[in-house]
């Protein structure tokens, strides 16, 4: 604020120079930072709560999709074929697992190649979860280290490709069905038969313009890993590694090929990797084990890693076809515990009332929704925010997003399962028609998905909040941070100026001038401390790498070790570097400003961190801002509050303590968990597992925790415990 200083100086001799309006506005806001921050924060939280109200109905933006404009072509013959496949596969369940797996693969291959598809196997061995601090964010790396592995660890996926008869083979649509070869359940077989129904139809249609890849993922080691491995081999093949993989003397795999050659198959099954152009979109088809009470239900999972979403048009097309053509009930994930929360209901009723009032004033205003809708919407929104913030894909579709392919998981759950044949066939027909319709829509696309939104939150399958709306809540929440930082900074300096003005005598010496320059650089010490704490945060992030090396470590003990090591390293930091304030001898009034400057620099750092994070993963930044912003703004040394002894300052101290507790990452995790799941399921080890999943999935949230959230929390604690 050098400007204010010059103003103050010139004030005495000349009439005040008019500062420019933008500067005046800034000064005005900074001088009222308390009011502004209270208003902005409340508005930010309110805007977040209003989001379900502001959600728009989805619409299909890309005209070329034309969902549902063609009538479905799936016939009963496709279904009976699929049933035959399902029967053949389920007959194998009696046999021992190994032979059953091999036999079922063979049957599947035979069925696929009978349809005229090109069939190939994709082999890989699942990689163990290893924390590589250097591989973080490096994306899908091709440096797969082939260690010695056992033959049983092989996973064999089956890939069938239908070449579009008149297409040029530049693009492909991928259909994925996870299937446990050898130990499959009823639901998985059902999903396989739906996919087969569609596949058999697509093998003889004439309208196909893109190749169809049916990828049957061997899901015995999870659903994500095979898809990811296949995609990696598809996009970044390793030319040298293949030899070692193929030359492997795994008898079982070789058996498979021997078996293949025996029957008079029309086309040879190649062990080579088969490709089909650039992927336009991918659908992961699953049938849920659970049964719905009322009707067939379709659940859409869309969140990929780091809160990336597929193009909204894909969800729209699926939703449109499922609701308007197949009569399925479409759901997206939501927090069921929020559904019967009392405060949300009250809030919903208030909003409903407000909407009614508004409508009575002007019938054109239609922003009110019913309380039930509001609760539903906010439960969905909360889960949408949470899963995006977590940065962990909610299904195998996440692997596709890493390669810029739009993908969603469709989980169909049938109505109460009956062994009624007609009912079973009808379910197959519905599922098949849905998938057929979606594939036909994507097939219509000339260009890749680009028309609709990529940044959005869903409040229901047919309602969304776009980035332009939900950014407001975040912006309001973050806006007070720079203001408060500036006002704290200015406050600290005005304190200095006041001191200077009182002894404004002609005897102001050179030493005094030196002191001024010295003090004006005082914030550097605070900045240094903030920087060091951030370095410490990065060190804490790397600790799990070493903890992982400890053998036989339960999650609980890992958590304890982690926390202990973190605290130890913090202490060591303090001892080595020392408190920054020991370097300068400080007079008493300056000491007063010291914590203010530290707080100001902390707030600036948090502001920058949150803004950066909002670019990487918006949802994380939003939730982080909800936790951090009040804590940062409120933080004030407890000593001061206690000294003051007033009720107001006492309340502030309590607030500070509560906020500081809630913002501590493990505490936040457990608080959220108790809110949603109750007290019984609390276990310290869970936090470790949770963090482990974060780094295992390369989530940016993990970095955010270490680089923004934790340092900020420590610094705020430092301010709270400041001795002034």
């Amino acid at each position: 604020m050098p400007k204010t200083k010059t103003e103050a100086e010139t004030e005495t001799e000349t009439p005040k120079m008019k500062p420019r309006p933008i500067v005046r506005l800034g000064i005005f806001l900074i001088s009222h930072s308390l009011l502004v921050s209270v208003v902005c924060c409340t508005a930010g939280v309110l805007a977040l709560l209003l989001l379900p109200l502001l959600a728009k109905n989805t619409y299909i933006s890309e005209n070329a999709l034309m969902p549902g404009s063609a009538s479905s072509m799936i016939s009963n013959r496709d279904i009976s074929e699929a049933n035959r496949l399902a029967n053949d596969l389920s007959d194998l369940n009696l046999e021992p697992q190994d032979t059953a797996a091999m036999e079922s693969r063979r049957i599947l291959t035979k069925y696929m190649s009978d349809l005229g598809a090109e069939v190939s196997y994709h082999k890989f061995h699942p990689k163990p979860n290893q924390f590589h601090p250097l591989h973080f964010f490096s994306g899908p790396d091709s440096t797969s280290t082939v260690e010695n592995f056992s033959c049983s660890a092989y996973v064999v996926n089956t890939v069938g490709i239908i070449r579009a008869p008149r297409g040029d083979g530049k693009e492909a649509i991928v259909l994925v069905t996870p299937y446990k070869f050898g130990k499959s359940g009823l639901a998985e077989t059902l999903s396989l038969s739906i996919a087969y129904t569609v596949f058999s139809l697509l093998s003889r249609v004439t309208w196909l313009a893109k190749d169809i890849v049916w990828f049957v993922a061997d899901s015995q080691y999870g659903e994500y890993a095979p898809v990811e491995a296949w995609l990696r081999d598809y996009h970044t093949p390793v030319f040298t590694g293949l030899g070692t993989l193929n030359a492997d003397t795994c008898v079982k795999i070789d058996d498979l090929y021997v078996l293949e050659r025996k029957p008079i198959a029309q086309s040879k099954i190649s062990d080579g990797f088969r490709r089909a152009g650039t992927m336009a979109a991918a659908l992961i088809l699953k049938v849920a084990d659970r049964n719905e009470l009322l009707e067939d239900t379709l659940t859409i999972y869309a969140e990929a890693s780091n809160g990336q979403m597929p193009n909204l048009d894909l969800i729209n097309a699926v939703n449109y076809l499922a609701v308007h053509r197949q009569g399925l009930r479409v759901k997206v994930e939501k927090f069921f515990t929020l559904l019967d929360s009392r405060w949300l209901e009250i809030l919903g009723e208030i909003f409903e009332l407000l909407g009614k009032v508004a409508r009575s004033l002007n019938p054109g205003w239609k922003f009110g929704i019913s309380a039930a809708d509001y609760i539903e919407g906010s439960a969905t929104l909360a889960s949408s925010l949470y899963y995006q913030a977590l940065g962990i894909p909610t299904g195998p579709h996440g692997a596709f997003r890493d390669f810029q392919v739009d993908a969603i998981t469709l989980e169909i759950s049938p109505k109460v399962s009956s062994h009624n044949k007609a009912r079973h066939n009808e379910f197959l027909l519905r599922g098949g028609r849905l998938v057929e319709g979606v594939i036909r829509s994507i097939n219509n696309l000339l260009e890749k998905f680009h028309q609709s939104f990529f940044l959005y939150l869903l409040t229901s399958p047919s309602k969304f909040v776009s980035v332009g709306v939900y950014m407001i809540a975040f912006a309001l929440l973050v806006a007070p941070l720079p203001l408060v930082a500036a006002s704290l900074y200015a406050e600290a300096y005005q304190l200095d100026l006041g001191v200077k003005n009182t002894k404004s005598t002609p005897t102001a010496t050179a030493s005094d001038a030196l002191g001024i320059t010295f003090r004006s650089w005082k914030w550097l010490y605070a900045a240094k401390e903030v920087f060091l704490i951030h370095v410490w945060g990065a060190a804490v992030l790397l600790l799990p790498y070493f903890i992982c090396q400890v053998p036989n470590c339960s999650p609980t003990s890992s958590t304890v070790i982690w926390i202990f090591l973190s605290m130890l390293s913090l202490l060591i930091f303090y001892f080595i570097v020392g408190s920054p304030y020991t370097h300068v001898s400080i007079s008493q009034p300056e000491k007063k400003g010291e914590w203010a400057i530290l707080k100001s620099v902390t707030i600036s750092a948090v502001f920058i961190g949150l803004l950066l994070m909002s670019v990487v993963n918006f949802a994380t930044a939003e939730i982080g801002a909800l936790l951090l912003v009040p804590m940062c703004l409120m933080a004030q040394p407890l000593k001061l509050d206690i000294k003051a002894g007033k009720l107001r300052s006492f309340l502030r101290a309590i607030c500070n303590l509560v906020l500081a507790f809630v913002a501590f990452p493990p505490a936040a995790y457990f608080v959220v968990k108790t809110i949603f799941e109750g007290f019984d399921s609390i276990n310290v080890g869970e936090f470790w597992n949770w963090m482990e999943s974060l780094w295992a999935w390369n989530s940016a949230t993990y970095i955010y925790m270490g680089m923004v959230h934790l340092p900020c929390w420590v610094l705020c604690l430092h301010v709270l415990l400041h001795s002034c």
Binding site: T4, T14, P140, K170, F239, R275, G277, Q404, H450
Partner: protein, 669 residues
């Protein structure tokens, strides 16, 4: 042409007279000299292993180098001869293709797959007989002419970014060959009709009558080609002997309804077909202008071998006798002749050709060849020594890599034995690849993997010619001869590239689809696709069979690739304009402010004002301006005080405006 009717009548008369006289003269001339314009029509049918049928139409029109008729022709299309004369074309090939040739299932070693399997879209190459510096100009004119002739966007090949001049890998023609492809060109009847117009009988009579549009365009692959060869016969080189080959290769699915898979044995039975079932038409006699009109049915080597095995045929049985004894299939028409391939090199077996002459059929007795299978036969086509595929590596909008992978097929081992070579044997592979400039290929990043081992490029590359791309000027071109050991199992080439940015008006309307990298051509100069038939008089009469006898390199095309490039958000020009304008306004505004401002001057002005020596008018003005800007007049107030004062006033005003707005909203809307 708006000629009066009488004139047209006279013209007709004249034309008829001319025609009569010319035919007379030609008729008399045939005995003495063979210099006559000839037209041949032929059709080759071939069952394919995956239950499909290949139909290969072959029309050849030849114009001898004679100037007896001046610029006029008897049979030969004038448009083509003018084209050849004008641009001095030595050889030219134009193909329109839809669908992909399936090298694995439909064969990759025979003449048809090497010569008539083309990449999707349009491919054009031409060799000119002009000085080197005029080649580009001729090419550009030629593209425009062809574009008009065939109703296609061949004129886009005019731009120098679209064509290249391969030296030796594609075809031996130093300097005067130009090659260009349009992978995205859609092929339809509007391209077929002008092509048919070049035939003397169009599609009204003869074999071309079979060309039923719906059945052709329902096919799995169809490629319509035009091949021109001209030979200067006399020394002046003015009169050119031109041979125009027009071919149409179609792969059709005879089984309109897929047989039920419930009976496995039946499902493997090849579908039976006839000309009328696959084309929906029959042949009502030959085109009267055609010199020969034949239909051939080819049974390829693998099929014949399989048949022999199944039926315990004596090898001589088929060769010597006919078909009465056929048990595994039945032909509805007895062939006029059976040709057996002389297999000099391949130890696999020899293919058979059944010849049917259409001449004896007429309207009352149409020709309808049918083939009925009785027993399931499974065979496979002969493959090229290495199966090639090309794909993109990497993801994202920044960079990527092109990989060409070559995998050995079963044929390799047998041909190796046939070649009789042992350890020192080498397999040469020519690779010709054109890459558009917006994928900036780094040729130094070429990596070679042979049998899954990284190898030094120099050890395996015999010859390489690289022409790096120039931005917006020319595409990158790579020609390469790989020298692989015969027993090679697999080889792979990778080339890294960066994705470039296009200028806003260079984007096509469907920019978000991505951009095409045309097919690479991979040929095997050591292997020749040809069928040798016993020398016979009748063979000379059939230009298609003589074409089959010619030795040609085994050639295959790889897939077209689709590279997604970064595209601007075309749908939001408004936003772009707004943001740019805002940024510019802010930037220039503040810059102007800084430049214009004089701090000293302002201070002096303020001082003078404080001294109170201002005129009445200016004082009034300043007061007015102060009122307007809503600032308090008192200059002596402290900043915080004044700001709070402003605050209350401002708040009041804002409240007033809000109240007004609400009232307006409520009462007037």
């Amino acid at each position: 042409m708006a000629l009066p009717p009488r004139w047209t009548f006279l013209l007709h008369l004249l034309a008829i007279l001319l025609l009569l006289s010319s035919t007379k003269t030609f008729g008399s001339a045939t005995d003495t000299e063979a210099e006559e314009e000839e037209f041949h029509e032929e059709l080759l049918l071939k069952p394919l292993p995956d239950r499909k049928v290949l139909a290969h139409f072959y029309f050849e029109t030849g114009a001898p180098p004679s100037n007896s008729n001046g610029h006029h022709h008897h049979l030969f299309p004038k448009a083509i001869s003018q084209l050849v004369q004008k641009f001095q074309i030595k050889e030219m090939e134009l193909s329109f293709t839809q669908g992909r040739w399936n090298y694995e299932r439909w064969g990759g070693f025979d003449t048809i797959s090497s010569n008539y399997a083309k990449p999707p879209g349009v491919e054009l190459w031409a060799v000119f007989d002009v000085p080197k510096e005029q080649v580009d100009a001729s090419w550009k004119n030629l593209t425009h002419t062809l574009s008009g002739l065939f109703c296609a966007s061949i004129n886009f090949l005019e731009s120098s970014t679209m064509y290249s001049a391969p030296d030796w890998s594609f075809r031996q023609a130093s300097g005067s060959l130009r090659y260009g492809t349009l992978p995205r060109e859609a092929v339809c009847t509007e391209n077929l009709t002008p092509w048919l117009k070049l035939l003397p009988c169009r599609d009204k009579a003869g074999l071309s009558a079979l060309l039923d549009r719906p059945s052709i365009y329902r096919s799995f692959y169809h490629s319509q080609q035009l091949h021109l060869t001209s030979k200067p016969s006399d020394l002046e080189g003015l009169n050119l002997g031109i041979v125009l080959e027009q071919t149409l290769t179609v792969v059709l699915d005879p089984s309109s309804q897929r047989t039920s898979l419930t009976h496995i044995s039946e499902s493997y039975l090849q579908p039976s077909w006839s000309l009328s079932s696959i084309f929906g038409r029959k042949v009502n006699g030959k085109c009267v202008l055609a010199k020969s009109s034949n239909v051939y049915l080819q049974l390829e080597r693998g099929l014949v071998a399989e048949l022999k095995k199944n039926e315990n045929y004596g090898a001589d049985y088929i060769a010597s006798e006919g078909f009465d004894g056929e048990t595994s299939f039945e032909l509805s028409v007895n062939p006029d002749r059976v040709l057996k391939e002389e297999n000099s090199r391949h130890g696999i077996g020899s293919s058979f050709l059944y010849e049917f002459s259409v001449e004896k059929y007429s309207n009352s007795k149409p020709f309808d060849l049918g083939l009925t299978w009785k027993f399931p036969v499974i065979w496979s086509c002969q493959q090229a020594p290495l199966h090639s595929s090309r794909f993109l590596m990497g993801s994202g909008n920044e960079n990527g890599a092109i990989a060409i992978s070559l995998k050995s097929t079963d044929l390799n081992d047998s041909s190796l034995g046939a070649n009789g070579a042992s350890d020192g044997c080498e397999l040469h592979v020519n690779i010709f690849q054109v890459v558009p400039w917006y994928t900036r290929v780094y040729y130094h990043s070429l990596q070679l993997f042979v049998d899954d081992q990284p190898k030094a490029v120099g050890d395996f590359v015999e010859k390489m010619h690289v022409l790096p791309s120039k931005d917006k000027i020319s595409p990158g071109m790579m020609e390469m001869v790989l020298k692989l050991p015969c027993g090679v199992k697999s080889a792979a080439l990778t080339l890294e590239f960066d994705k470039g940015f296009l200028h806003i008006d260079e984007y096509p309307p469907d920019a978000n689809q991505g951009f095409d990298i045309p097919s690479a051509a991979i040929s095997f100069p050591d292997f020749h696709a040809s069928m040798l038939f016993p020398r016979n008089d009748s063979l000379k009469k059939s230009p298609m069979l003589s074409k089959f006898q010619e030795k040609s390199h085994v050639l295959s095309y790889t897939e077209v690739l689709l590279v997604p490039l970064t595209t601007p958000d075309f749908s939001m020009p408004y936003n772009v304009i707004t943001i740019t304008c805002t940024v510019f306004a802010l930037y220039f505004g503040s810059l102007l402010n800084v430049l214009r401002r004089r701090v000293g001057e302002e201070e002096r002005l303020l001082k003078r004002k404080a001294a109170g020596k201002t005129g009445r008018l200016s004082e009034l003005l300043s007061r007015l301006s102060a009122k307007l800007s809503g600032r308090s007049q008192e200059p002596a107030q402290s900043p915080s005080n004044s700001s709070s004062l402003i605050n209350s006033k401002l708040l009041l005003k804002v409240l007033l405006v809000v109240a007004f707005a609400v009232a307006w909203q409520y009462y007037f809307i």
